[in-house]
Symmetry: C2
Subunit: 176 residues, 2 copies
Amino acid sequence: MTEKEIAILRIGHRPERDQRVTTHVALTGRALGASGMYLAADDKGVAESVKDVADRWGGTFFCENNVKWRSCIKDWKAAGGKVVHLTMYGINLPDIIGEIRPCEKLLVVVGAEKVPGEMYGLADFNVAVTGQPHSEISSLALFLDHLAEGDEFKREFPGAKIRIVPSKAGKHTEEL
Amino acid sequence: MTEKEIAILRIGHRPERDQRVTTHVALTGRALGASGMYLAADDKGVAESVKDVADRWGGTFFCENNVKWRSCIKDWKAAGGKVVHLTMYGINLPDIIGEIRPCEKLLVVVGAEKVPGEMYGLADFNVAVTGQPHSEISSLALFLDHLAEGDEFKREFPGAKIRIVPSKAGKHTEEL
């Protein structure tokens, strides 16, 4: 199991319109090993949805509303962290992941449709997940999976109230 | 490069409300090796968005609107295909992917919030991507990536009008 510190920074979020997609970004981060998400917009609905999931399914995922994205990046770097920006214009994931894996503290920046040009220079790594247009949610999932090399499938979530019992057909859960 | 035939079947889509998420599902499928998506709802906006992308970025991804999901599954099976249903209640991906890889013709069913109980029995494989709640988009991405074992990162899209030139910082494209 990786002991890296990984957080998400979500930029370009438009309140209301992007609420579902940004919630999926956060939940993907949570399921695949990130410790929390900074949201560079004021939209408390995202944090509420994510908190509901974390309360029930365990773990300690944080969701910080209304952060300033430039200061977030500056503070992260000042604390010795590296910044990965997921963008279809970057270096293809398989060609760069080996350089990123040794980093112990990673901020993964996930943009919406428009990302300020400045972001490309601020990132330590601009990473493309195929170079084709698809989804910031799938890009984040594939990045975190390749980073952890599959270890995140065995992740435990302490304090969960419910857990799924894997099943060939049907829905089986246990209350904890 | 895999020569499998893979299609997506999107069920439980609510027109308008799910348009963005379902479009992300389709584009993720396209980028990661599926040949098209059947949409079990009447929402032409999805097909239009996906067609715009495919016209510009290449390939031959199809998007079929308003299919009946039960007949779609029945026809797929009658043609010798297997059906994978992505659900957090299924068998965890790393524990089942080895059984699925030999299948040459796969229909990947991606549900929205509510999925009819019947679906679990119709699927040849109910597959969980971590057993935690996150996103059907990330589930599909991780499933297709594990299925292709990374080969999809080298995929070419014939007939593209534009292509990205991978770059350490900045946005570089070439017109073709």
